[in-house]
């Protein structure tokens, strides 16, 4: 046995064996491994399929719980006079009580910012790439989405457009190129609005219109522009854009009978742009519904200040449901049921036809087309309650009616706070569970702090006053 082995491993073979072992030293490939769940960035945007995936990834950014998934709507709503904290209130409660900081309880100052810029980065990467095939429609959507993201960021992190006469107050940094090392300073609100309008305008000719309300269409862009111009107090353009959408014939107001269901219906006839939510997106209790429903966190309740404004019999009153377990007192017995799917599968409305009418009404009022304004408001009001009287007020009373209708119609869709501030009104809560109930206009606290992470990482970043 030993002899045999010795023979086999005679010296020459042994040396050969040695050589083999030391040169198993593997080819260069041995150290060049590629990931299996990701693509190197240089290979990620090559074919049309890649761009289709990339634009879906941009929409995915809008779905984030810190964006249209929940907090971008919930945060301004709990800062307004429409919502109040329940007994279990926790998330976003710093902002509801106006004691938020750059490191607030739910870290929203940082998270909403990052969610917005994440969408901007994803769109920038598409817009920077110039493939030799046509991706106009995808680029159009990317422009529109970037515009929306800037509009959202400038609304929540900066004072409204007319806060200074020339909108020269601090907005948010405009980033239109991919540069990992950038440390941009804040642009003025005017510059940001200019960017928003420029991007929406670039989007218009590129976008094709064969798509449903989950995607940016030409009409979605125009509808959003009607809101942007309204916030900018460019009344003429606001009316023009609203008018285009209304006259496109693509959308009709849902009937009174079907109204309550539109928030749980996909592609209702008045949905212009909504962010799709389904079981795969899996926001669960971390959805907008989870914020209000007893089966979710149920942390926030409708303020009676709002509930009492909705006329008895108005279909919109049915969006509140009774929950006797709330125990009465300051908490009352009502919950918000606008988003009724406890698992968070209700789409998040971005813009609906009813808002476009109300945008048009408010802009027309300022253009002193009072009768046109009265007609639009009455249309929305009578859709809620057929027996309601038409609006006949004029002057500032008419504006009050427009804003009242807007408050009822668009409640819990993330509008109220900005409808107040841009009209230079404060937040006055009577049915109030927060530690601060009255915040007169103007207030440095109507906008969020810039997250501490950003001010630490970016030496050019200026914090909002009072934070």
């Amino acid at each position: 046995m030993k002899k045999i082995i010795n023979k086999i491993l005679g010296k020459s073979q042994l040396i050969a064996l040695l050589v083999v072992f030391f040169t198993v030293s593997c080819s260069k490939d041995f150290l060049e491994l590629q990931p299996q769940q990701s693509l190197a960035m240089s290979r990620a945007l090559v074919s049309i399929t890649d761009f289709n995936a990339a634009i879906a990834g941009c929409y995915d950014g809008l779905q984030s719980g810190n964006y249209y998934g929940k907090f971008f709507l919930v945060t301004p709503d709990v800062m307004s006079d429409d919502a109040k904290g329940g007994a279990l209130v926790n998330r976003a409660s710093d902002w509801a009580s106006y004691v938020g900081t750059s490191t607030d309880r739910s870290n929203l100052a940082e998270n909403i910012w990052l969610a917005g810029y994440r969408v901007i980065d994803r769109t920038n990467r598409i817009l920077e790439t110039k493939p030799d095939f046509n991706i106009d429609d995808i680029k159009g959507q990317a422009y529109a989405m970037r515009a929306l993201a800037y509009f959202d960021l400038v609304r929540i992190y900066a004072q409204h457009y007319t806060f200074t006469a020339d909108a020269s107050h601090l907005g948010v940094p405009i980033v239109t190129a991919v540069d990992p090392l950038q440390k941009p300073a804040r642009n003025t609100v005017k510059e940001v609005y200019d960017q928003v309008i420029a991007d929406f305008t670039s989007a218009l000719p590129l976008i094709n219109d064969n798509k449903n309300s989950y995607y940016f269409s030409k009409n979605a862009v125009k509808a959003l522009l009607s809101r942007v111009y309204l916030y900018k107090e460019d009344w003429t353009n606001s009316v023009a854009m609203a008018n285009d959408v209304i006259n496109s014939g693509k959308y009709t107001l849902v009937s009174n009978a079907n109204y309550a269901k539109i928030f749980s219906t996909d592609h209702s006839t008045e949905a212009i742009l909504e962010i799709e939510m389904n079981s795969l997106d899996n926001n669960g209790v971390n959805s907008i519904a989870g914020n209000y429903l007893a089966s979710g966190y149920g942390e926030y309740l409708p303020s009676m200040d709002l509930v009492n404004l909705v006329p008895t019999g108005d279909i919109r009153k049915t969006l509140f449901i009774t929950d006797p377990k709330l125990g009465g007192g300051v908490y009352g017995t009502l919950r918000v049921n606008k988003y009724s799917n406890a698992q968070g599968y209700d789409n998040t409305p971005v813009i609906r036809l009813s808002e476009v009418y109300l945008n048009q009404a408010e802009a027309n009022y300022h253009l002193t087309n009072e009768s046109a304004a009265q007609t639009d408001v009455s249309l929305i009001r009578k859709r809620g309650l057929a027996t309601a009287a038409i609006v006949t007020e004029t002057g500032s009373a008419l504006l009050e009616q427009i804003l009242l209708e807007r408050r009822i119609e668009l409640s819990f869709e993330g509008h109220r706070l900005w409808d107040l501030t841009r009209n230079k009104k404060g937040v006055l809560r009577t049915n109030c569970t927060a530690s601060t109930c009255s915040i007169p206009y103007p207030s440095k606290r109507f906008i969020l702090a810039i997250g501490k992470f950003e001010t630490d990482a970016n030496i050019n970043m200026v914090q909002n006053p009072d934070y």
Binding site: I5, Q37, I55, A56, L88, R118, Y214, G327
Partner: protein, 1002 residues
């Protein structure tokens, strides 16, 4: 061992040639153990370099100058004997085993050395410390016993993982865990957890698949001279585990078993409220808010319908007395050049938390076959399987250890139908039931590991050996979680099941050439040259389903909606060349140089290969002539070493800019950038300096003192990016850190007579850590890693007590601590001067034996360590989150009346004062402690008894583990043991146990 033999062989052959004249003496050397002859015993003429070693049948023949010669018989693992030759020409010698001497052979990287020859800093732990451990993982045996090594484990989950830090913290973003090497092969360590059972590594460990009873020794390599041979993986130290080998001879069977009971180790854990206390607090919380007692009472009655008949102590409900049992059997022996060690083990531990347990089956077969004089084949194979049931940690509502304090005592455990109560959804917390959570819901992990290591070693010439080692380390992990449909986390989705598997294969081929020769009597030269290739591949699958029709069937097949089906894979590879040159002159002056060149797939394209090296020297002062007359000094050695190592424990693909998938919208697959990438990304560097002195005096006291300096450079940091980039960070090699300190290890044999022996040992590590370069501070929860500060220094909001006038929380506004405010928004966090890095740690042990009796004790201590309890912000929240209960300490110390000096503020439901601010000093505790880790009493029956029983040995023992604990803090609500970073995260508290066992040898 083999190296040592080779060394001796060559050494002695050389000597014999030089002195071949005079008187001849012959004989046989046998072992007192079994009477068998011993091969390779060294026989030296004292005062000369003349000597031989025994041959294959234990015989020797030695030529002596005269009859006055004194012979020294020595062999590894046996006591040396000095014999004056006199007139005898035949000298048969019987050697006795010596446990102390066994430690003299030291296993080092890719070889062995001896305590005398080491130029580096290496500590060893012998098999005695690892036998019949009352815990499942071998790392537990290392706590407090090895200087420089800090073992942290806060988790009382059976089979929990353990964090080991050797000489401080070496990294910020990469791992600070040492490299584990088993029988020469770098293996997988840490935890693999496809669905998160491990709670980020705290609750499970791949290492728990190994049976500690199979281990012969553990070497802990600490300085660069010892670790540089592991190159880019040596920076955090290396733990080399060597398993038992068989000894040729008649088969010896060893059987041992033990049974034990365990409870929480700390006697003063926080206590929950009873029903009366909670109701009082409930009403008070609302009246303090301005409501009437009547409104509050109405709400109480509506929320707690079972209040009249319920007073649940949730903490008592979820804890129990745990049980541990283990059985081990091993057999070893061999003949004709083939020896074997085979073992089988079973370990079962029921945790102190109901529903938690850990079970392990393990087996091992180690075979050595000397096929020819030149060729030896060894194969070590082991198989281990573990099954564990555990709970989620942290502040999740699903964490029973958290929820048990927050769920009101008015909530019953069972409902009227005898099911777990789940009607308290109105209280928030998702209607979790801590008991149902542990007994009805499921959360388990199975680990299967097969490790095989096949080595062929061929002696090409007497002085040149080639060795080829091939090994595979296969780890399979299967995890499952089930949440019931009726109450708790998954109520909305009607139950949820989640299953995951992960399969890892790590293969390594190592080829080494070893040259060893003694030139001109005094120049001993040893060279090692090697090549190693390693590849790791991992694949995991996860699936989730929701909508369970009933509460009994839990596999995913029973659920209505498949929700998730995903798989992923990852891999990394290393290719390395290494060498080591050791030289000593007359066993007096030693020098070692090591070098390794590592390439890895993990490093960026532009920096794929790195070189690592070390130099070490030592001087055995007692070998000098001037020391010859100082008899009380048995040994005195000075060491110095310096070297460069690296830390390659970075992500597998961190260097590459990536687009990831899984960003679906409207059911269309989406992609998005996931990593900015950095082509320059590379290993973290470390330069280590070590100065050491080893001495052995008065034949009794052995001590080692080391001074070390670990300078880490190019530390990987997720450098904060402006979030306007869509990212918040990018990994870059920036940042330096320094760890320096002293290690002292001392052992004294106070009494060492034949019948009565008493040993005493002590070790302490005093060290300081400092972040020496960091462009921007990194705020990481309660800590802020900032240049000039200790890495783990807490950076917090500073609690300034309660205002006696109004019961409001107060805070210091800034670091000057001159101003106090009730408005936390007007304050900033600042450094506390307190760190989770202890100023010192170590342990003491003693061993007393008298005839068959023995008593051993080990105590461990950690000094000046601070911990932050993240759970407290929820449990002691002063009512911030209604209607969660609190603990008794908070209840008893709350402010109620103006003028009262109280520890805690007024209790108001839904208060927004942020008195429970995260990361505040209010929840920072002193975790200085001393713990009696082990107290073991054993009795070995006399030979007369074992002979009568027809067995070779019989031992009984009783062990008490963690039985006494002293803490310096006066707020004793939490067990002082915590993770390395000092963040207490609601894991199962540490346990103490008492066990009894028996060991029988056949």
């Amino acid at each position: 061992m083999k190296l040592k033999l080779t060394f001796l062989l060559i050494f002695c052959l050389g000597m014999q040639l030089a002195f071949a004249q005079g008187k001849v003496v012959t004989g046989t050397v046998t072992s007192a153990d079994d009477g068998k002859t011993i091969i390779g015993v060294s026989i030296m003429v004292t005062g000369t370099t003349n000597g031989v070693i025994t041959d294959l049948i234990g015989n020797y023949k030695l030529t002596l100058p005269d009859n006055n010669a004194i012979l020294k018989f020595s062999f590894v693992g046996f006591k040396s004997q000095l014999i004056t030759v006199g007139q005898a020409s035949t000298l048969n010698v019987v050697l006795e085993r010596d446990v102390v001497d066994l430690e003299q052979v030291v296993i080092i990287g890719y070889g062995t050395s001896t305590k005398e020859a080491l130029t580096g800093s290496v500590s060893t732990v012998g098999s005695k410390k690892l036998e019949m451990l009352p815990t499942a993982t071998l790392q537990n045996a290392l706590q407090g016993g090895v200087s420089g090594l800090m073992m942290n484990n806060s988790d009382g989950q059976p089979g929990a993982g353990a964090e080991i830090r050797i000489r401080g913290i070496g990294s910020i973003s990469a791992s600070s865990e040492p490299l584990y090497v088993i029988d020469g092969i770098p293996v997988q360590s840490g935890s693999s957890s496809p669905t998160g059972f491990s709670n980020d590594g705290a609750s499970s460990s791949i290492m728990s698949t190994l049976n500690p009873n199979d281990i012969e020794s553990i070497s802990i390599l600490k300085d660069a001279s010892a670790t540089a041979i592991y190159g880019s993986r040596g920076a955090n130290g290396v733990i080399i585990i060597t398993t038992k080998a068989g000894k040729e001879g008649k088969a010896k069977i060893n059987f041992s078993t033990s049974n034990g009971f365990s409870t929480n180790a700390f006697n003063h854990l926080q206590v929950p409220l009873n029903a009366d206390q909670y109701k009082q607090l409930f009403i008070e919380g609302y009246t303090n808010k301005g409501e009437s007692v009547a409104t509050a009472t109405t709400r109480f009655d509506s929320w707690f319908p079972e209040a009249a008949t319920t007073n649940t102590n949730w903490v008592d409900e979820i804890y129990r007395t745990g049980k541990t049992q283990q059985y081990n059997i091993d057999i070893n022996g061999g003949a004709n050049g083939i020896s074997y060690f085979a073992s089988a083990g079973y370990y079962n531990q029921q945790g102190v938390l109901i529903g938690t347990d850990f079970e392990r089956f393990s087996s091992r077969l180690n075979i050595v076959a000397k096929l020819t004089d030149r060729l030896t084949i060894t194969n070590n194979i082991t198989l281990g399987q573990t099954t564990a049931n555990g709970a989620e940690d942290g502040t999740a509502w699903n964490n029973p250890m958290h929820n048990a304090y927050m769920t009101a005592p008015q909530v019953p455990v069972y409902d009227q139908y005898g099911r777990y109560y789940g009607d308290h959804i109105v209280l928030g917390m998702n209607g979790n039931n801590p008991v149902g959570n542990l007994l009805q819901d499921k959360r388990w992990q199975k680990q299967t590991r097969i490790m095989d290591n096949l080595t062929a070693s061929y002696k090409i010439r007497e002085d040149l050996t080639f060795k080829s080692a091939w090994s595979a380390d296969l780890v399979g992990v299967n995890e499952f979680q089930y949440l019931n449909p009726r109450y708790g986390e998954a109520m909305l989705t009607k139950g949820r099941g989640l299953e995951g598997t992960e399969n890892n294969l790590n293969w390594i081929g190592t080829q080494t050439l070893n040259y060893n020769k003694l030139f001109k009597k005094n120049h001993d030269f040893d060279a090692l040259l090697g090549y190693e290739a390693q590849k790791f591949e991992s694949r995991s699958v996860q699936a989730m389903a929701e909508g369970y029709p009933n509460e009994t069937l839990t596999t995913l097949a029973n659920a209505a909606n498949a929700k998730l089906a995903t798989s992923s894979g990852t891999s990394f590879s290393f290719a390395s060349m290494f060498s080591r040159f050791s030289y000593n002159y007359a066993a007096k002056y030693y020098a070692t140089a090591s070098f390794r060149r590592d390439g890895s797939s993990r490093f960026g394209e532009d920096s794929r290969w790195g070189n690592f090296w070390s130099l070490g020297t030592s001087w055995r002062v007692n070998k000098e002539d001037f020391m010859r007359n100082i008899k009380w000094v048995n040994d005195l050695k000075l060491r110095v070493s310096y070297g460069i190592t690296g830390n390659a424990s970075i992500g597998n693909f961190d260097a590459i800019a990536l687009y990831g998938f899984g960003y679906a919208y409207d059911a269309i697959a989406g992609s998005a950038p996931t990593n900015i990438g950095n082509p320059l990304l590379t290993w973290e560097g470390q330069s280590t300096m070590d100065l050491g002195i080893d001495f052995f005096v008065f034949d009794r006291i052995r001590a080692t003192v080391n001074y070390f300096q670990r300078k880490n450079n190019d530390l990987l940091l997720n450098m904060p990016l402006s979030e306007t980039t869509g990212f918040n960070g990018n990994l870059q090699n920036v940042g330096d850190m320094l760890n320096k300190g002293f290690e002292i290890e001392a052992n004294a044999q106070i009494v060492k007579s034949n019948d009565f022996k008493w040993d005493l040992g002590f070790n302490i590590t005093l060290m300081k850590n400092e972040v020496t370069r960091l462009n921007v501070p990194i705020i990481d929860g309660a800590q802020n890693h900032t240049e000039g500060h200790d890495y783990y220094e807490f950076y917090m909001w500073h609690w300034a007590g309660v205002n006696p006038a109004n019961g409001q929380a107060q805070w210091y506004t800034d670091a000057t601590k001159t101003e106090i405010t009730e408005n936390i928004a007007k304050t900033v966090p600042f450094f506390t001067g307190k760190s989770a890095m202890p100023s010192s740690y170590g342990g003491a042990n003693t061993n007393i034996s008298y005839k068959g009796f023995s008593l051993s004790a080990q105590a461990v201590f950690v000094w000046d360590k601070w911990v932050y309890n993240n759970q407290s912000k929820g449990i002691e929240s002063d009512g911030a989150r209604a209607p969660r209960s609190t603990n008794l300490y908070a209840f008893e110390n709350r402010w109620t009346t103006p003028g009262q000096e109280a520890l805690f503020p007024q209790f108001v439901w839904g208060n927004v004062t942020k008195s429970n601010q995260t990361n505040s000093t209010r929840y920072l505790y002193d975790a200085t402690y001393i713990r009696l880790r082990d107290l073991t009493f054993a009795y070995t029956f006399t030979k007369a008894v074992s002979d009568r029983l027809k067995i070779s040995s019989l031992k009984v023992f009783a062990q008490a583990n963690n039985y006494l604990t002293w803490v310096r803090s006066n707020i004793d609500q939490y067990d002082p043991e915590s993770g390395t970073n000092g963040n207490v995260n609601g894991t199962v508290p540490k346990t103490k146990s008492i066990s009894m066992g028996v060991n029988v040898g056949f």
